[in-house]
Structures are given as C-alpha cells and as structure tokens.
Symmetry: C2
Subunit: 229 residues, 2 copies
DNA sequence: TATTGTCAAATCGTTCAACGATCCTTATGT
DNA sequence: ACATAAGGATCGTTGAACGATTTGACAATA
C-alpha cells in the first residue's frame, strides 16, 4: 500500500463516482478532466471533437455535452464556432484566484474557533499525507495533498456550496501548478507552513492561523504570478 | 424613465449579452433561465425536452445542451434517465446558502477598509434603487435591488471569480425568495438595514458593518428557513 | 514586399430520425 | 394489499446531413 491517504481517498471517491450510474457524457467529461489535470492536454491546446469521438468511440453530441460540463468547470474555454481550448491561465487569473482564496480560506480559518474535531482531523490527515509523499520523493503527490489541506481548510466552514467552489478552484489551480517546472522546489516549503497552521488551529489560535495562511498565500501567489509572467 | 438604475443596468447587460454572437443553446438557456427566475416554472417542476423543443422550435440536442448549462448554474437538477427539474430548495439548502453568504459577504465587508470609491458608489446606488422601488410599491424590484446590494458587497473584494460565484448564489436565492408570499413584508425591513450597513462602511467602520450584516443575514435566514419548513 | 480578395477544406452548431435503455403508470394476478 | 408484467413516455445516445463559420493557402494588385 504505497498510496497516500488523501490520494487513496480521492481515487476511491472518483471510482465510486464512476461506479454510480453516470451518463456517457459525464464519463467522457471525467476522462477529459483527467487528461487536462494530468497535463496530457496543454494549457491553450484546442480540443477538437473529431479525434475525441474516434478515440473514445462515442458520438459527437456526447462529446459536446462533455465539453459543456468542463467549460463550466473552467477547465475548458468554449469559443463559438472555433471550438474549445484548455484554459490557459494568466498572471491576472492567478491574482484573482488568490484573492478568492485569501478571502475564503482565511475567513474559514478565522471562523474555525470551536471547529469540530472532524475538521481538524482532516487537516491533520492532509498534513501527514503530504509529509509521507515528501519522504518518498513523490512531489506531485505532495502538491495534491497540499491541495487536500486547503480543501479541508474551507471544509471547516461546513458549507457544501463552499466545498464545491473550492473543488473547482483547486481544479483550476492544478492547471496553474502545471507551469511550475520543479514540483519539489515549489511544494516543499509549504509542508512546514501547513504544519504550523495546523498547530495554531489545534491550540485554538484561529487568528494566528489566519495570519500564517495569509503569508502562505501571498508567497505562493508571488511565485505563481512570476511563473505566469 | 421608470426603471431603477440597477434594473436598467442589468437589462442592458443582458441585452448586450444577447447582441453578442451566441449559440442557440445559450439562447435557449437564457430563455429558460428567465422563465425559472420569474416563476413561470415552479420549483420542483420537471422540464421535459419535447414541449420545449416544440415551443422554441429548436432541436432536442440543443435543448439538452441548454439543460447542461442551467444544471451547472444550479437552477436545474439533472437526474439521469428521469429528466431535469427546477431546483427546489430545502431548509437545508437555505442554511447552506446563508453559511456561504455569511462567510463571503462578511469577509468582503471586513476587508473593505480602504475600499475604492467605486465600490461604495455601487452600494449607494443599489440602496437608492431599492428605496425608489419601495416608494413606488414595486416590491419585487426591491428584492432585485437588494440582491444588487449584496452583489456589490462581494464586489468590494475585487475578484471576478467571487463575483461570478455571487451571481450564481443570487440566482439560486431568487428561487428561495419565490417561496415568500408577501414580497413587501419580506423585503421592506432590509431597506433600512442596507442603509445602516452602507453608513458604517462610509464611515470606514468595516467591523461594525460586518456585525450588522451578520445580524441581517441571520434574520433573513431565519425567515427563509421557516418559509421552507 | 505588403495587402487584399477568393476559394477550398476543416470543423463547428444544429437538425433530424432512429434505436435502445430506463422509468413510471396501468393492468392483472395472487 | 402486494407483486409482477406490460405498455407508453421519454431520456440518452448514435449517426448522417446540412448550413455557418473560421482558417489557411494562393493569386492578384498596389
């Protein structure tokens, strides 16, 4: 069993979703989503209906429905009469994403005084998962676990809609992270920072945790804006 | 000129969007969205492809694409093999929506210290629009303008993604408000509260404004949860 | 050389018809 | 009353076709 806890949980959730009854359009969207977030398709790349129809052996209308699904998730950009493109994020996109993260994540942390033990347990688990992946040199898994940490941060707020918004934001962020050439150099410093934030929350110091998180997000933003400029 | 400022601006934006080149699927989605938010279709009502195909004289695939668009906006609920339904919000939905609003709107207000004059101007305009509509007894327009106020609150954060999230949240809320039998009784008390919040922000008292907003949202939530129980 | 016009190819957006799958309602049997 | 089967409605998908739009190549012109 070499998979990290968070990664295994993600995979299990994804597999469960596929076991549920889903339409073909949703399954096509799932395949394409994987390809996008794994970098098989590059940001800016145009996805043409024809090759996907052939490749996945489905009809064009089904592919179009899948494109609609992914366009709303902001992974694809639909341009009328020109097709759909994998979203290419600009420095301005990064700035906007971090403005959103700063507002939502820090507010969730500030509200976290009196959080349920479950919320903290999820954060703890994400920190552990990231540290395990780092110990094994799996740096992209470290990035994934770090994102799990942030999902757990927002989940402290206890709102399904916020959780969904954060899932989508993190999917977009995955595209952002594709631009970082050295996953280790990017993700490694955040391990210690996650642990610090967790420590503050565990002590009940929500304001301290929020301050740390603000610094964390500011630093990550600076790096990513630079990588996208 | 009897239209409120906010309403006219909304209409202009909507008309500009329609003047842009749009696909038929998007135009169908637009028509359906109007019907949903105006209560032509009731919450819980099932939208069948056939009658819409006949009514709008478009093909089924186009209607299906429009359904996909609206499902992601959470105005419709897509159920595999059973069709799509206008979303019926439960008391739990209301609670979740207000949890999200509390976190995002109050954080946006707390961050508002040092807001640009434009942000405050938009709030001011929304308050004026609501008051004008109230003076003319147009209570549903009061609700619309109140929502414009909240959109402007979130816009203080200066994030396009947060703005988009709020637009969608307010679209959902419009469904929630359909359950209120007496628009006047529901919307009227919030006029004065909006003005108070605006006053605090104008004085630079962001924390005071956030406290008022928290009370406002708690009261609205209580009323709406009751109406959905 | 740069710009403009024309044409062909590619492909997108939509329509239509058809078929299989699924769900719901109705009818029948115990 | 409950269980089962059948029929009808409609959803999900497929595939073919056509018109609309965009793009790229090439020729003509200044």
């Amino acid at each position: 069993m070499t998979e990290t806890g968070v990664r295994a949980a993600d995979r299990l959730a994804a597999e469960r979703a596929m076991l549920d009854r889903t339409s073909t359009a949703e399954r096509v969207a799932w395949v394409l989503r994987q390809r996008i977030t794994e970098g098989v398709y590059e940001p800016g790349e145009r996805l043409s209906e024809g090759p996907i129809v052939d490749d996945l052996d489905v009809s064009r209308n089904t592919v179009r429905e899948a494109f609609r699904l992914l366009s709303h998730e902001r992974l694809l950009v639909h341009e009328l009469n020109r097709g759909v493109f994998v979203r290419r994020l600009t420095a301005a996109d990064v700035t906007d994403l971090y403005r959103l993260r700063r507002l939502v994540e820090c507010a969730a942390v500030r509200q976290a005084a009196g959080s349920s033990p479950d919320g903290l347990a999820a954060l703890r688990e994400a920190v552990h998962a990231a540290e395990r992946a780092a110990a094994e040199g799996r740096w992209e898994d470290v990035g994934t676990a770090n994102m799990g940490f942030h999902r757990a941060v927002v989940a402290l707020a206890g709102s399904e809609r916020l959780d969904q918004m954060m899932r989508q934001t993190l999917a977009e962020l995955r595209l952002v992270f594709l631009a970082m050439r050295n996953p280790r150099a990017f993700h490694e410093p955040y391990l210690a920072r996650n642990r610090e934030i967790l420590g503050r929350l565990t002590e009940g110091d929500a304001e301290g945790a929020a301050r740390l998180l603000e610094g964390y997000l500011a630093e990550a933003e600076r790096q990513l804006v630079e990588a996208h400029s």
